[in-house]
């Protein structure tokens, strides 16, 4: 069946290494090797939020931190200021404990009462000295404090107006 006239392929021309297909394959190879060997930069993670600066508050400077608008919710227990913003639903505006936002909540927590009367009226006056609390109420306060320490950050301390540690009015 084989005819002698069948054209014989010219191997020398067809076997060129410089054909388009070979060039494509070669460049693919080079690309792969480059991808494999190129220097990779170390992994970086997104920046963590900057730490909150510990501050010394007086009742007056604590007051604005009551959760209104974008403000954080702070409350003070026995001289320690807690950032309770994660529990804004409870301690923020509209929450059951909203009276405590930006205030010294010590007496209120001890008495399990969330009424206005529990708060120290005179912001310029001395801090609540916790007089008149019985043993059970003090233990109650202790429990609250431990729970707060577990859950929330201490971001500052509360001192009375005119205390030597209190920041100057200009600050």
């Amino acid at each position: 069946m084989v005819s002698a006239e069948d054209p014989v392929p010219a191997p020398a021309e067809a076997m060129s290494i410089a054909s388009p297909i070979n060039l494509i394959l070669l460049s693919l190879f080079v690309l792969l090797v480059y991808m494999h060997l190129r220097p990779s930069s170390p992994v970086t993670l997104p920046e963590a939020p900057p730490p909150v600066v510990f501050r010394t508050f007086t009742p007056t400077t604590l007051l604005p931190n009551n959760g209104q608008g974008d403000k954080p919710v702070y409350l003070a227990v026995r001289g320690r200021v807690f950032d309770v913003t994660p529990g804004k639903g409870f301690y923020g505006p509209g929450g059951p404990y909203e009276n405590f936002a930006g205030r010294d909540a010590t007496r209120g927590l001890a008495c399990q009462s969330f009424d206005e009367e529990m708060l120290t009226k005179d912001l310029k006056g001395p801090l609540d000295d916790l007089k008149g609390l019985d043993e059970e109420q003090l233990e109650n306060l202790q429990n609250w404090e431990e729970r707060f320490l577990e859950k929330y950050l201490v971001v500052g301390k509360l001192v009375a107006e005119g205390d030597p540690e209190a920041p100057k009015a200009s600050e």
């Binding site: 076997m15 054909s19 388009p20 297909i21 693919l28 190879f29 090797v33 494999h36 963590a48």
Partner: protein, 565 residues
């Protein structure tokens, strides 16, 4: 539709044209590609540690004091958790669930003598202690050292000596004296051995030392004793080669006030009384203070009084800073070529003894030694060295001897390191490493613990590239630690899996689990956005007096690793 069809047919025609040229070379190239892809899949390895753990190496506290950075802590003991405060020694009669006692030096020696604990609770083999003298290593049995410790301890106990200065090269006598102090209740002061006589006399005077242990013939007694009236006992340690000499002579002028004894004679004389048993003790009783001298710029140096709790925390943290599978174990031989009078080598050696690893001590050990000479004689798995020693070795030997073959092999192995994998040693890499490591005989080396004094000159700070060279040419992982006075062990230490390369001097990693690091004296009003720069302040159980500030500026990088400014 028509145009689309024609485009498609054009593409089809083009493809046919291109593929029509397919020939034997195409097949070969395609085969090459397939082989390369398969090989790179087969040969690729998981990184030794998850990259995220290197991208954030320490935790920062969410609240900071004004003028200070946040407190940075080891990932092991993050904010809100107690810092590591002790060795966690479990007494045999203690309930299983307790976390263990804090422990002290006595527990370390007890653990070393007891031998390793196997899984079934039985005791395995003891570690060994070698002293390297030139090219030859002498083996000592732990029982023998216990006996010497008992003899020396009883000797000073009966003489009612409360303060003993040890001025020796790294040796078993130095170790025995330290443990004798812990067991027999005298304060030990480790004084570097190569000080001039006046400086030594001043140290003894300052610490009101009553007894001195020193190398026979190395100290001129009359100078030292004249300046120290309280000094009543001198114990000479004679080297093996000079034991035939009579060291009992006392200079005429101080003959009345001084009692001179020789270590090996004392041990020989009293060894029957002392016994091989480790003395028993009440765990509630404290061990005395151990004092080291931190070389300061002035000649005098600064005394650092390590309380037993500082040492326990530091030793424990140094041991725990290594990943679980890479901690010291009873198969290790830990060689310290840095002097035991420095807290990092001391804590590493104690950690090794506590985990029943074998320990090799070198009499030439110090901050500035010849790495190749000091490591000859034994084949350690772990070496503890100073940054100066390593930097000198890199400068004087390793770099000049890195030839073309070594550089090519290094280039390939750096790819491995960059992808987080420690390159494995094979015939090819060994051939390539012949040049840079020709002087070394470190076939089993797996870990290099390098410490850098915070106040050492900045030219001995190791760069990332130097550390990479050590990794590749010695085949060992590296823990690079920053040390300072008043902090037992180290302040921070790099992760041994951190192979990342950066420009300039290397960072020092994350704080150890026994202390937190705060950068103080941060100028609050200088307009700096982040409070991550200031003076190094360490606080925690391993820190003398709980908190100390070093006069050195440092910075926490974005991966929470500390670097010196």
């Amino acid at each position: 539709m028509a145009s689309e069809a024609s485009t498609l047919s054009k593409v089809d025609a083009l493809l046919t044209d291109v593929l029509a040229d397919w020939n034997i070379y195409s097949t070969l190239i395609l085969g090459g590609i397939v082989a390369f892809v398969i090989l790179s899949f087969v040969l690729s390895k998981e990184p030794d540690i998850h990259p995220f753990l290197l991208a954030r190496q320490a935790t920062a506290s969410p609240v900071r004091q004004p003028g200070e950075s946040a407190a940075y802590r080891s990932l092991e003991t993050p904010y809100g958790f107690p810092l590591r405060s002790g060795l966690g020694v479990k007494d045999p009669d203690a309930p299983k669930w307790t976390s263990g006692r804090r422990g002290d030096l006595r527990d370390i020696w007890k653990a070393a003598v007891r031998g390793s604990v196997k899984d079934d609770g039985s005791f395995g083999k003891q570690g060994k202690i070698y002293t390297v003298l030139g090219r030859q290593a002498v083996e000592h049995s732990l029982d023998q050292i216990t006996q010497e410790m008992n003899v020396i301890g009883k000797h000073f106990e009966s003489a009612q000596v409360k303060t003993v200065a040890i001025c020796l090269t790294d040796s078993v006598e130095l170790l025995a004296s330290i443990f004798a102090g812990a067991f027999y209740g005298f304060r030990t002061i480790i004084i570097p051995h190569n000080l001039p006589e006046e400086a030594l006399a001043a140290h003894l005077q300052k610490a009101q030392v009553e007894a001195l242990i020193a190398e026979a013939g190395a100290v001129d007694l009359s100078t030292v004793a004249k300046a120290n009236e309280q000094l009543s006992h001198v114990l000479w340690v004679a080297k093996i080669g000079s034991r035939h000499m009579d060291w009992n002579g006392v200079p005429e002028d101080v003959k009345d006030s001084l009692t001179v004894t020789v270590w090996h004679e004392l041990v020989e004389e009293k060894k029957d009384l002392a016994g091989f048993e480790v003395p028993s003790w009440d765990p509630a009783s404290p061990t005395p203070v151990l004092t080291t001298v931190w070389p300061s710029s002035s000649q005098s140096g600064e005394f650092i009084d390590y309380q037993p709790e500082n040492l326990a925390a530091g030793i424990s943290a140094v041991g725990a800073s290594l990943p679980r599978n890479h901690r010291f174990n009873s198969d290790d031989l830990v060689l310290s070529i840095d002097s035991l009078s420095r807290s990092y080598p001391l804590c590493q050696v104690m950690a090794a003894l506590f985990t029943n690893a074998s320990v090799a001590l070198n009499s030439v050990a110090g901050e500035d030694v010849d790495f190749a000479l000091a490591t000859a004689g034994v084949s350690p798995t772990v070496i503890v060295a100073s940054s100066r020693t390593m930097s000198d070795y890199h400068e004087k030997f390793m770099r000049p001897h890195t030839g073309i073959i070594s550089s090519i092999a290094r280039w390939f192995q750096v790819r491995n390191l960059d992808s987080g994998v420690m390159p494995s040693q094979n015939v090819f890499s060994q051939l390539a490493n012949i040049g840079p490591t020709a002087e070394l005989s470190l076939d089993k080396l797996r870990l290099l613990c390098i410490s850098h004094r915070f106040d050492a000159p900045s030219d001995v700070r190791l760069s990332s590239e130097q550390l990479t060279d050590f990794r590749i040419f010695t085949g060992a992982r590296i823990a690079y630690a920053l040390t300072g006075p008043g902090i037992a062990g180290a302040i921070t230490q790099t992760s041994i899996f951190d192979y990342r390369r950066f420009d300039g001097p290397s960072h020092f990693g994350a704080p150890l689990s026994s202390a937190e690091v705060i950068l103080t004296d941060f100028p609050e009003d200088a307009g700096l956005e982040k409070a991550v720069e200031g003076k190094i302040t360490a606080a925690g159980p391993s820190v003398v007096d709980g908190r100390t500030t070093l006069p050195a500026q440092a910075r926490f990088r974005s991966d929470n690793a500390l670097e010196l400014c």
